[in-house]
Symmetry: C2
């Protein structure tokens, strides 16, 4: 099992030079948001990731969370790590200062997430849940609810959960059946929920469940769902904990990965009804959830970066140490990193990760800019860009991130299949990220129908024009070959976009059948655009005599690899979008 | 956990109509090899797969093989299944009749392997090992060794193993250190071996280990390795079992998948030396192993078909049963197979499997034709074709097969991540197939350096010309669009081939760095060629009034899907071959 070292050089390069961080600083009007402070935060987060979270990752996987005498018990060391994270103020890093958060922008909080999740994905889910539940409460909760719960969620004194899924409904929230019956100043909640991450655990005293449920006279479907706060322990007026609420964790799922994250089946109201407090207005629960979704999906997209980075580091360490055979043009004793295909696998991982990281932070920056911008028109433009990028970040980065963990195993050969090596855990852990927070298909539908078509393709066209101009303006002679390939790739997006707009007029089911390929075109092409952008920045810095030439030159080399080994997938996906919609429907159900 | 039903329609279509089975029949001069007999064998194998092997697959995974009181114990039911397989004569189905086998051709024995491996991959490894060990003995062993061991291996009364890997050596057999010291009529073997599948177990009385080792004065490297038979129990002159040999299983690996297959660390000679018998001549061990490798690699390529088929059946059953949301143009209650992206995923699995199956049996048929052919020139041509196809079958089918198990999970959504569903097991089990019996990189190197370049590209050019002619001859009007695409795809192979031949003149390390992409070009393109071939056959049969029109029409629809969704990957790989060799070497070791 190898260690984890935060990739601070690439992280800082992306945030400082690729995502308009100076504008985020300026618009945020936050005096504390100096680059020095950001660097200090990163250094500290890197230390905690390596020293506190990473060492627990393997043992957490082996032990898993389990039910002992009716209570969920987390693995050894989990409680201590919890204490360290909460006491360091890490949970509320990007949360509202009004309620005890530290108000850092998403690109900074996201970078800390990246590191924590690389170090220990199973552990690092609960801070995300605190942030997500807190965000929903902050936007839509009453003052009383906010005062009672937000400081505890942002400090991490308590943890939060999201209760959406029910056994019969899966991703189809229209089918939610959990009941909420008004009862004085609260509601009585009853029903069962599944796939509830950290639905119960032993790390703190209280858990704040956010639960989707229906009131008795609610309309059917998604327009009759309300959102409730249902605490594990009721809270007295003075803020102290009262009696236990009527809810429990019935069982834990036995999962392929993230064993240490307790995935609970929850039962509400076995004894007559759990006390729940309405957030906002009745029947608007789904709307409230959707508001949070961009950020939550952005965070899960980040998990693709995180798990791929960790798998890469593990594979790299092995490849630099393992001697086996003599490489071409090499000598006895050379390590396997010198074998052509091992090097190819590592390059693929490294370059794919860089592209995903650039894309993810760029999306995070759009969220920040939308948040801080005061001009309404500009705010809407930033928001539209962020919303456009979100499904691509979520789907493309999780799919590719999951693939990278497979390459990580391959670098190890037979030892990669042996659990003690550690590479297999990343492969197992990663397999959930293309599923939860909306599957890849759900992201692709969101991307094609809401993000592309709802404004008639306006945002998509605007972004494409902007990137084309930016790329066309590159004059550096050594970049002309890559420039031509990116210009061509951007035209693939345009082709796909025009096709989708044209086809939307006739048959939505048809375009849905190549929606994932359509999203992939954009993912691969945006990756290419960003890798080229990184190269132009690196070239400029080198010309200006930067003090990290080896790193900057590596950015240029990684662009060459991305464009020749990864970008061609974008064209393959375009071919599928162009010609492949009918073929999905070539068989009757019986012919499968 | 769903059941397994052998895909007999597609299996029979491929073997009867796509791989010159009539020629195999004719050349084999085996009167028993009628299609009726083959069908009867398939029906029976299908029954055993569904009824005996498939039901043990999930429990085998959960229990795993384990060491109890120093002995390896297989999961519940394993011994009974072993009895059923051996008593049915399945182990020696494709083995020499001289020693009790049944002498069926590889395409028939391979089909039985496909079914058994779909039903239960972990179980079905041992018959392959028997066949492999038996094959080596048959070709190179003395009459005495053959008479003692072959009938027991082919009947399955005993099992076989292959002992190649050592801890320090991995895939680099030049580094093998196990010793073999002459001692009268035998040798004394000492050393340790790892990754020995079924190195010990409780299903039968004896295990026939084939062990690579060095004699005291052997030259260094691969030219100093000899091959030995080292039985677990010594065999008396009358064939009865004597005392235990000096060898033992030290421990079992804790693996990502195929838990039920005991992967042993073996120690030979702790008490002074295990009795071993030389196969053939000293120092020719590696040569003997290589002779078997085509078949062994063909069999592992088949595992890609098998595990993908099983994952597909599991996903299909779920998609036809699960109701969630209302599909486009659908109605409440419609199952998720009607959702565009679920259907896309299932189509992708089905079509990829069909292409892999066609490729694999076609390769198996070349092995058969080479085996039975009496004319030397033709024999060599068949052999060259089989050897050319083998690394593509092994690498492309295992890589794609492993990917298909991931799509299988995706169809299930969150439930795919829950172990009890069963989809995750296929994903875990499949992850070894791109590694063992030579990693994908090793296959790609074999393909590019031995199979493509050693004859100066002659075999590659011959096959390409043959396929181009065959495709160009298609006159059916409805196939012209797909024909044009396959013609174009075949030209991609030609482009890649010419490039590789040209580049080989200067720098082998460079071509090795895109060897996997080169292999992938051929894999995807041959898949396209075969899917089109299947379509032309199906069209013809439909015109002739065949009695299975629904199936034949499905073959045509699957070709459309393959060409629009999967074949574009071939062009993407070609782009990488053309432009991506330098990029692999863009970083120094320190820059990773």
């Amino acid at each position: 099992m190898t260690s984890y070292t935060a990739p601070l050089d690439d992280l800082k390069f992306v945030i400082q030079h690729m995502v308009d961080f100076d504008q985020i600083q300026e618009k945020s009007a936050n005096e504390n948001l100096s680059w020095d402070v950001v660097e200090a935060v990163f250094e500290e987060a890197a230390k905690i990731s390596s020293q506190v979270l990473a060492p627990l990752n393997g043992t957490g996987d082996q032990q898993g969370s389990r039910i002992v005498e009716g209570k969920v018990v987390t693995p050894d060391g989990w409680k201590d790590a919890f204490k360290e994270i909460t006491e360091g103020g890490w949970v509320g890093l990007g949360c509202s200062e009004t309620y005890g958060g530290q108000g850092f922008p998403e690109v900074v909080a996201g970078a800390v997430s990246e590191m924590f999740q690389s170090a220990n994905l199973a552990f690092s889910l609960w801070p995300l849940l605190n942030q997500g539940a807190g965000d929903a409460l902050l936007r839509h909760g009453s003052d009383a609810l906010k005062e009672t719960y937000l400081p505890k969620l942002f400090s991490g004194e308590w943890t939060g959960t999201m209760n959406l899924t029910e056994p019969q409904a899966g991703s189809d929230l229209a089918a939610v059946r959990t009941k909420a019956v008004p009862n004085g100043d609260h509601y009585l909640i009853s029903g069962s929920k599944i796939f509830i991450s950290y639905g119960d655990h032993d790390m703190c005293d209280n858990i704040v469940h956010l639960v989707l449920a229906r009131t008795p006279d609610a309309p059917e479907g998604v327009k009759g769902i309300s959102l409730f706060v249902v605490p594990k322990m009721l809270v007295n007026d003075d803020g102290s904990l009262g009696q236990a609420n009527d809810l429990r964790c019935v069982s834990l799922e036995h999962k392929l990965g993230i064993h240490a994250s307790p995935t609970c089946v929850m039962a509400y109201g076995d004894q007559g009804g759990a006390v729940g407090y309405l957030i906002g207005e009745e029947n608007r629960g789904l709307e409230y959830m959707f508001v949070m979704m961009n950020k939550a999906r952005f965070e899960v997209g980040m998990q693709g970066v995180s798990i791929a980075e960790r798998a890469y580091q593990q594979a790299l360490a092995y490849a630099k140490e393992r001697v086996q055979g003599v490489p071409f043009n090499g000598k006895p004793g050379d390590t396997i990193i010198n074998h052509p295909d091992v090097r190819r696998l590592l390059m693929h991982m490294k370059c794919q990760i860089q592209a995903m990281r650039a894309l993810t932070y760029w999306g995070g920056a759009q969220l920040d800019l939308a948040h801080y911008e005061s001009n309404d028109t500009r705010k809407q433009t930033y928001q539209a860009t962020a919303e456009f990028l979100t499904p691509v970040i979520k789907a493309w980065c999780t799919e590719r991130g999951s693939e990278m963990t497979s390459l990580g195993i391959q670098v190890h050969g037979g030892l990669g299949f042996v659990e003690e090596t550690g590479a297999a855990q990343f492969y197992r852990d990663a397999r959930i990220i293309t599923i939860y927070e909306g599957t890849t298909a759900i992201q692709a539908n969101d991307f094609i129908f809401r993000k592309t078509l709802r404004d008639g393709g306006a945002t998509a066209h605007r972004l494409l024009s902007f990137w084309q101009e930016e790329v066309q303006a590159i004059t550096e002679p050594t970049l002309q070959e890559n420039k031509a390939k990116v210009v061509c790739a951007l035209s693939h997006c345009k082709t796909a976009l025009d096709l989708v707009i044209e086809r939307a007029k006739s048959n939505p089911a048809k375009i849905a059948s190549t929606a994932v390929a359509y999203l992939d075109v954009w993912g691969y092409v945006m990756g290419g655009y960003l890798m080229l952008k990184a190269t132009t920045i690196a070239k400029k810095q080198l010309q200006d005599g930067a003090d990290n030439p080896a790193f900057l030159k590596s950015k240029i080399a990684c662009c060459d690899f991305y464009i020749t080994h990864i970008l061609p997938q974008g064209e393959a996906s375009l071919n599928t979008v162009m010609d492949g919609t009918d073929a999905v429907w070539g068989l009757s159900n019986d012919q499968f």
